[in-house]
Amino acid sequence: MDHDGADSGLEIEAWRTLGGVRRFSHEAMATVFEVSAVHSDERYAAQAAHAAFDLVDRLERELSRFVPNSDIARVNRLAAGERTRVGPSAMECLVIARHAFDLTGGAFDVSIGTGLPSLELEPDAFAVRATTDGVRLDLGGIGKGYAVDLMAELLEEWGLGQALVHGGFSSVLALEAPEGLDGWPLTLSNPGDPSRVLVHLSVRQTALGASGLRKGDHIVEPCTGKPVRGRRAAWVAVPRPEAAGAEARGDGGPRVAAAAVADALTTAFMLLGLEDIATLCERSPGVEAWVLPEPDGDQREQATLLHFGGSGAGYTSASS
């Protein structure tokens, strides 16, 4: 269900030409995480990036269903009526996932496995209770975005405010842009034809989620169990509230996780009806989405990119 790198159709445009940007990468969660940041001291920037990568590794140990003693693996083993304690990261992910599930009428469930409706979350006690057997969660559709959110907070703590963080380019979070730019230059392109750029974006303080299919891939519709037809890719932009910086969180209050939300919505937008996507974007100021339909019949014919929402603060888009 993960669609990374080339098939996310999301890239930094000509990043080598960006002044003073240093790039660091690290493999985790079955993808490559990257930090691109502006800082005069190479060693300091590397230390900050590695502190962020250590954080991703910790999150993977807590959130991966493939790690037998992770919080999620433990939740997946709960029998009906059983309860377990989880860490704050797992709880935050589950609350965001529950919200995305409700928000999208269950469409998001496709990327989180099955059984979310059978879990009772007790946020204050950091406990999770299963009401039925057979919970099989997979935070693949939200975990990378959540990791990107936390990495960005850490980089801000380190003073690397001009930065862009992504996990496999399916979850991207742009902080402030390099000197002289209004935003980080990003492109959306057809995952089946990456050379064809569809949109140029200039993005700051915004999360972008991407979900795309190459030929032969498929996403299964959660209700019918049948492959979804008609969508090649979906991208969702969610603005990051300015107050989401680490300093604003000293009270340990809830986290504003723009990248996790974008990550969750993007998979749902591969499934949801276009009217529903339009409604959701209309009612959610700042949320913007692009959907690339599968071309009809003749494969050489290019489908038209559909655009929803928009006029969000902090970024502009322009069709190429």
């Binding site: 590695h50 919200h99 928000l103 099955t114 946020p123 204050d124 003073g159 209700c223 009806g273 009217e275």
Partner: protein, 476 residues
């Protein structure tokens, strides 16, 4: 898909025909109930209100969690390891955090206090542990995860203040320090658990008690090998704006911020990778064999890292001699910090089988039966280990049938797994002991013997010779 059509779900998940169905109506219902943004805070509170309402509704049936005797705990040392231990303790019922002490008040101390507040603890924060011991009169136990050179003074003072102590390994960077800790535990009668957490890991306990102890599946163990390899990583840094003032660093024994963050590499503060990593695994060699090593030879050096910013050896290879009642054993161990290939494991080889075990729960433990050893069917039936995985055998596609390249030994996995964070069972064992319900799995004496055998490696490297252990090396 499993879980489809579950009855009793919210309308958003259940369609009119009793099966889940995506529909515009459902989505709109979701949208009319929730705003999409301001998203997380709203979702969190929504969830919380829902749970509160439910709990109030169920208030007639009181929870049955009141039988756990609470233990008042202070965390001394809120760095990376302190945070790992905190994460584990938060999952253990009955642990009450009363204090957090760390000299990095600007960053790590704050992080841990905030984390604990999320879990409804309200600890007092301290920079000076003496002040903490003076003011916190309710403490039952202190969990210590400070740099190695602080372990001894911290532990001794906490024990003398009447607190039980869980102290991270290596017990101390000097034998004198470790000896003072054992003596303080004896004098005060308080508990001292050393953080060799594999000794409480159910998989390691199963291998020790059942596979090696009861079933003796390996036969006579003759050799052991093990490693912890790590890839190159930059030195640890710190967010510039949260740097500790120089005066405070010096007050607590650190030259500067670099040394504070990378104390493991400095002589007089830590012991280098052989002590940070090797001590866990060499402790297992000794625990499984049941005797302490009789000699060690070792080679090592600072082969890769910058000597200006690193003092201890980045590469160490050591060979221990053990004289067990069954006969002599040679045990090899290596640690290096330039290539992380194959990570960390311990490999025990006997004349009837091999046990390859790693603390990594993703890897687990595997046994290989020597083709000449008696069958293990009985032990498989008893559930000591899983039935063998059929090894993939390459058959030649031409010529005589059944010409095989070689016969691999059967691979049996050990089904006992740890479902909790790695340090949780060892901490649980400590708290159980505090409640008088268990014996410590790694008391001060065991920690001392382990420290003595590991610290000798650095000595042997320096001396460029084989060093023998006498009975005095393990006696306090």
């Amino acid at each position: 898909m499993a879980g489809d059509g579950e009855p009793g779900k919210t309308p958003a998940q259940t369609g009119d025909q009793g099966q889940r169905k995506l529909g515009r109506r459902d989505v709109l219902r979701g949208l009319s109930t929730f705003p999409a943004l301001g998203l997380f805070g709203y979702a969190w509170n929504e969830q919380r209100h829902y749970e509160q309402a439910k709990m109030e509704a169920a208030a007639a049936a009181p929870a049955a969690a009141g039988d756990v005797q609470p233990i008042n705990v202070a965390l001394l040392g809120a760095g990376a390891q302190g945070q790992v231990l905190t994460d584990s303790m938060l999952r253990i019922p009955g642990v009450r955090f009363r204090a957090v002490c760390d000299i990095w008040t600007e960053y790590n101390q704050k992080r841990v206090v905030n984390q604990l507040k999320k879990f409804n603890h309200n600890p007092n924060a301290y920079e000076d542990y003496r002040e903490m011991l003076d003011k916190e009169q309710e403490l039952d136990a202190v969990v210590i995860a400070t740099p190695d050179f602080w372990h001894s003074p911290h532990t001794v003072d906490c024990l003398k203040a009447g607190r039980h102590v869980y102290c991270e390994k290596e017990m101390s960077n000097t034998l004198e320090g470790a000896r003072a800790m054992v003596a303080a535990a004896r004098d005060t009668g308080k508990l001292l658990q050393i953080g060799h957490q594999r000794r409480s890991n159910p998989r390691y306990l199963h291998c020790y008690e059942k596979l090696l102890g009861e079933a003796k599946l390996l036969g006579r163990i003759v050799t052991i090998s093990g490693q912890w390899n790590r890839a190159v990583a930059p030195d640890l840094g710190a967010p510039a704006r949260y740097a500790i003032p120089d005066a405070r660093l010096k007050q607590y024994g650190f030259k500067d911020m670099h040394q504070f963050r990378n104390w493991r590499w400095f002589k007089g503060l830590g012991g280098g990778p052989i002590v940070d990593l090797g001590s866990h695994q060499i402790d297992i060699y000794t625990w499984f064999l049941g005797v302490n090593p009789s000699a060690v030879m070792a080679s090592g050096g600072l082969l890769y890292h910058d000597p200006k910013t690193h003092e201890w050896y980045d590469t160490v290879m050591a060979v221990y001699d053990y004289d067990t009642p069954a006969g002599p054993v040679k045990a090899y161990y290596q640690t290096q910090t330039t290539n992380g290939s194959q990570g960390y494991f311990e490999n025990f080889m006997g004349d009837q089988g091999t046990l390859l075990i790693s603390e990594s729960e993703t890897y687990g433990a595997r046994l290989y039966r020597d083709p000449n050893a008696p069958a293990w069917d009985t032990w498989v039936q008893k559930g000591f280990l899983n039935a063998p995985t059929i090894q993939e055998v390459k058959e030649k596609t031409e010529g005589v049938t059944d010409v095989r390249e070689s016969v691999s030994p059967d691979e049996h996995k050990v089904s006992i797994v740890l479902r909790d964070p790695y340090h949780q069972p060892h901490l649980q064992n400590f708290f159980d002991a505090v409640r008088g319900k268990a014996k410590l799995n790694c008391p001060a004496e065991a920690g001392y013997e382990s420290a003595s055998s590991v610290l000798k490696v650095n000595e042997a490297i320096e001396a460029k010779s084989r060093l023998a252990f006498g009975p005095d090396d393990y006696r306090v």
